[in-house]
Symmetry: C2
Subunit: 373 residues, 2 copies
């Protein structure tokens, strides 16, 4: 059904690599992984008035056998604020940065953009817990830096821009990272030279002025929101009783932030940016395999497959009994970085082509391995 | 709430290690990873009459905004059989082995055994697709072998027994692996010498005879079901239209099997088997950290922490300002394999203690590293 997508073997390999890159970068800024549940108790969401379908219109709700209502988490601010009341008591427990990579459920009325707006999707959500706004601001910038690294590692950095969006009740703006793509659902006003954009939702003369930009230098572009950073302030901590005692024994609400990246949406953004008319083009960092081996006669590729595998080079080995044309077309469609072709014609040499280039080289095994290792 | 559990930073590290061990062993027997969705369309479950709450009493059900009913998957036989109709057409497409590591939802009326019977939990479920029963049987034994490797790697092999349980409509028996533990919800009749057990649900004189066992040699034991293997036959493939053309062009239903391991439950079984009265005892293979470093004066451990980290040895560094006794108690409670203590008394030596032993050794850094690498 629309908005609900399974991953096939090649897709899940990409998704797991994206997951690992995100995990590495979140660990690098002090994030610690946890794993919260999807099933949610209404009680904690009623405290912030986010249980009602009138205030949050994307809940999937269900029931226990005894009739008690439950929700499927579409985000986890309330849950984690509640949970941290058991772990944060004093200023010594702060700051704390917790993240998870976990399924979110959102009952979208319309779900028309494939993986860009799914009803069920994997999300990395990090939550920061700080003593004050200054400490929050510091981490906010650090996390934005980690996000830039992630977007660079998956190959979309040069099409991805820091974008100012609605800040909610606590702060003037939230940050988004928007990747330029026609398939995007968002509209942004981009200052390409300064590499800053404004989301249409807050695009007003005073905002343009406030950010030191000039209206006539802004280009209207379609984009995919690949990451967001929210300053939440003390809204959730106050509502859920998340307080700490400061150095002078004063009780204060914890200052929170939340930081999300949808894994499937990020994957979709990479596809939108890098694919060409013949199919997908995966960067080496997240490609399901590094090489795609095509044999033009049965069994001819077996030896090369085994040798490369032993070297730790992953190989998608196409040993199907179909035409060469079909194999080449499928290789383009799948988009693995290196296409290797072995045929009787070339005998001792391997025809090597990068997916992102048109050039074909005839290499010996030794030359190929040198390129790949 | 009961049956719904979040994982904290140490717990998720254990869970991820269990996940990786399972993934490695499933890949080693030809399994390919996929990722199906939790949200389920009733249509495909109606085909096997498993949508009704009368036949399956553990559904969590929810609704789209347009009122259409959906279910949260408690298993995936119907979904994957339906899905494979797009991928299996001829005998050349068989056998196929697909697995996922994904959240399952089960609306249990009572959920009293912690992680052993959760309402939301991560499960590895593999599905096999074979031409005939002979091919199914071959894989069945192969998967049982992979399961034995998994249980060995997580440290519970010598308390875990192949158990014959109800086979459902297609086969005489299903296989379970049952781990002896007082906390277990299952009762088995165990022949310890032959390392075979019978689940209470099928324990009858003719079954004892059929398996070549003797009633008087069977001991009644409590156990946790840590894995199961079902021969499904053609029940799901016939209902969902999963057929293939054999070598002679004859249309035949695909013969299926399903193979499950609950990750949280396996973790709980390891705890039940290995923990002692002072706390958890993790085996090295799935411990959240390899070493637990206790400093008896502030900063004394920093150097060792950095040196070990550089060697790739993971360290949980307890630099809290609490008493030595509290630190030792917490180390026992957490159960990391190697406890390292540095104090002013021992100066150049490190006090090394294994969690599973009472012996304490004074080692130089060089001696310690030799033990750990």
């Amino acid at each position: 059904m629309a908005g609900v997508y399974s991953y096939l073997p090649l897709g899940i390999l990409v998704l797991r690599k994206i997951e690992n890159i995100i995990r590495e970068e979140m660990n690098a800024i002090g994030g610690r992984e946890i794993f919260l549940t999807s099933l949610q108790d209404p009680k904690i969401w009623q405290k912030t008035e986010r249980w009602s379908d009138k205030t949050v219109d994307i809940w999937f709700k269900t029931k226990l056998k005894n009739g008690a209502e439950l929700g499927l988490a579409n985000t986890h601010e309330e849950e984690i604020a509640n949970f941290m009341t058991h772990h944060i008591h004093s200023y010594r427990d702060l700051p704390a940065y917790l993240y998870q990579i976990q399924t979110k459920f959102r009952n979208e009325t319309r779900s028309k953009s494939g993986l860009i707006r799914a009803r069920e999707f994997l999300m990395k959500d990090l939550y920061s817990f700080s003593r004050d706004e200054k400490e929050l601001d510091k981490f906010f910038d650090k996390c934005a830096g980690a996000y830039r690294k992630i977007f660079k590692r998956v190959g979309i950095a040069d099409r991805t821009y820091l974008t100012f969006a609605s800040g909610g009740s606590f702060s003037k703006y939230s940050y988004e990272f928007q990747t330029l793509a026609e398939a995007g659902e968002d509209t942004i006003y981009l200052d390409e030279k300064n590499k800053i954009a404004i989301n249409k939702e807050v695009y007003r003369p005073e905002v343009v002025r406030d950010l030191g930009l000039e209206k006539k230098k802004l280009a209207v572009r379609k984009a995919i929101e690949v990451g967001n950073l929210f300053k939440l302030g003390t809204k959730y901590s106050t509502a859920l009783g998340l307080f700490y005692l400061d150095e002078r024994g004063q009780k204060r609400p914890v200052v929170m932030g939340s930081y999300g990246i949808g894994l499937g949406r990020l994957m979709a953004a990479v596809v939108e940016v890098l694919a060409d008319e013949r199919g997908l083009v995966w960067p080496e960092s997240i490609a399901p395999f590094r090489t795609h081996l095509i044999e033009l006669r049965g069994g001819l590729g077996r030896d090369l497959y085994q040798k490369l595998s032993r070297e730790g080079v992953t190989v998608l080995y196409d040993d199907r009994k179909v035409t060469a044309g079909e194999k080449f077309n499928d290789a383009d469609l799948i988009g693995i970085p290196w296409r290797l072709t072995v045929s009787e014609k070339t005998v001792k040499k391997i025809e090597v082509k990068k997916r992102s280039s048109k050039q074909i080289n005839l290499l010996t095994y030794g030359e190929l391995v040198k390129k790949l290792l």
